[in-house]
Subunit: 383 residues, 2 copies
Amino acid sequence: MSTTAPRGFRAAGVAAGLKSSGAPDVALVVNDGPGDAAAAVFTTNRFPAAPVQWSRQVLSTGRVRAVVLNSGGANACTGPEGFGDTHATAEHVAQELGIGAIDVAVASTGLIGVRLPMGELTAGVTAAAGELRADGGDDAARAIMTTDSVPKTTVQARDGWTVGGMAKGAGMLAPSLATMLVVLTTDAVVDAGTLQTALRAATAVSFERVDSDGCLSTNDTVLVLASGASGVTPGAEEVTEALTAAATDLAMQLLADAEGSTKDIAITVRGAATVEDALTAGRACARNNLLKTALFGNDPNWGRVLAAIGTTDATFEPDRVDVTINGVTVCRGGAIGDPREGVDLTGRAITIDVDLRAGGEQATIWTNDLSLAYVHENSAYST
Amino acid sequence: MSTTAPRGFRAAGVAAGLKSSGAPDVALVVNDGPGDAAAAVFTTNRFPAAPVQWSRQVLSTGRVRAVVLNSGGANACTGPEGFGDTHATAEHVAQELGIGAIDVAVASTGLIGVRLPMGELTAGVTAAAGELRADGGDDAARAIMTTDSVPKTTVQARDGWTVGGMAKGAGMLAPSLATMLVVLTTDAVVDAGTLQTALRAATAVSFERVDSDGCLSTNDTVLVLASGASGVTPGAEEVTEALTAAATDLAMQLLADAEGSTKDIAITVRGAATVEDALTAGRACARNNLLKTALFGNDPNWGRVLAAIGTTDATFEPDRVDVTINGVTVCRGGAIGDPREGVDLTGRAITIDVDLRAGGEQATIWTNDLSLAYVHENSAYST
């Protein structure tokens, strides 16, 4: 049920012809209220796409009544003309729904540096508006897919209220190819400020800890819309908990479906002086191509773990660091530990535990391997 | 002639059995003087290999009379035992040559986290000492190869004096798989301080601007030895110029032979407020897997250039940035420029010019594409 699991929402997904494959490519999610509080987290890339620039203005009001999303084109680096295209899309949605353009957030994903085919897109918006249904969430989730092999949705039922959501792509701070887009919905009664604080907390420990290929998209967008239709007003902590559960569920689905990946890798750095140190060391591993290719090759090459964290400024003494891969402590005190031959890497799940022995903090970063299929998919994308 | 092109040097390369292939794997370069000034630049990785720890102590004296290098094992993350192995190797070289162990620098390359087979290694050192020849530089250059497909050597003749050198690997600040090792030699009369200043200047604009895969080795070492055998005392600027020429020549050879690469990519960032900004923006491109896979696929995907530099804190206005790929300005003012179809990427050489329009500084970073062969080579290395 995705974004339409909570009460007060309708959604649709249609094929507008933006994708040459003829697959669905325009999604619409509408909040019928009675509330319209909203919050968002956007990419920090300094080349934000036109829809990100537009939606930031919309979200500055703390209110959103509809979200239109398209795959088949990112509308990034398209100049003032591209921004005009996004604005026109929002105006068209507003006209169809009888609301204001400022009530309409926009999100796009696909190739950078290409204008959107506006004729197809606006016709698609009209079609989607005509197909809005209270059970349309799954159709919307399918229409935002790009290289995703399956739609990603979540439903988190709480006491009299619900959080739903859909996602495409992989990873927030460092998503893979074509942008991470996420729309969360809830029928809880929540004000925009509470929603924004809860969303930031939820993304910080979920999407922002998935680091698939270290690249940061121009279009990343995570939105949350609250209809208030349940009439239930949960506490701020309850909202944070439910949004975190939904975001974590979606983040793990993104990881499992990352482009060309054959491994899901959880890198936990413990014994860190600070959480920031743990994240820095974890990310250095997640972004190390030599380690990621070794894991693709089922090679427990722990030297590449040390070489990666050795490039960071995290607090640790090199001769105190332990590394455990899938349960085998292959490195003790920065030197040779148990035989690497004992490590079984044939499954999809890999856990790397690094103990810095420098404090009591820890954090986990999730990533994928660097596979032949990754290179193949990403070298053949726009051509 | 490599390291033996300048007068006062002998070298050898032998097969000691460290490599299962039976290829040469132990090299020895000896400075017969009359001078023995030396300087070095080492990896900044916080897990420096045993030979790096040892050689740092040797170089603190400003003097080196012999360098022993082995492929077939990095002797990194091997604890006190590994340091003992390096020490024993230096002692054995010293014994063979009738000098002190503190006169002997050591460099190693190969798999991290495995002890060296000391029986084979010391026998190899004895054999190499017996084969030292004034024209042995090419043999030494072959013995330090790992995944290199060709030996890398350089000779820079100046007015009555010469710089020679050999290298293996790819990139200093960010070398590929198996470490960058470089030995430069000169018969100029130079003191250690001048040599160190000149070497730092030379590596800063050569090896440190090659960024093959963003990974930093535990073993990177660049040494320079001065015999003074020419009797010529060049000025400090002349020494810097000649070392820079030698280092740049070797750096370009490393780039051209990087593991599994199909493209040599020169990323020039101009119009930067500072050289540091230009380097930061250039490195962000060089480390962006999405851009590197696109170039492997002959895809002039300029959006990935902007997405990469958009993650940096370099000074620029997003709507003023131009990107030119192989002569075609595909992006103007942060938006769509000339048609990307006009870009021919079928050759090995690719030039990416980014104009930040924020100042008068510029710098070039060299890198390679991310290819299927890169993943294949690096996933199959230790297994």
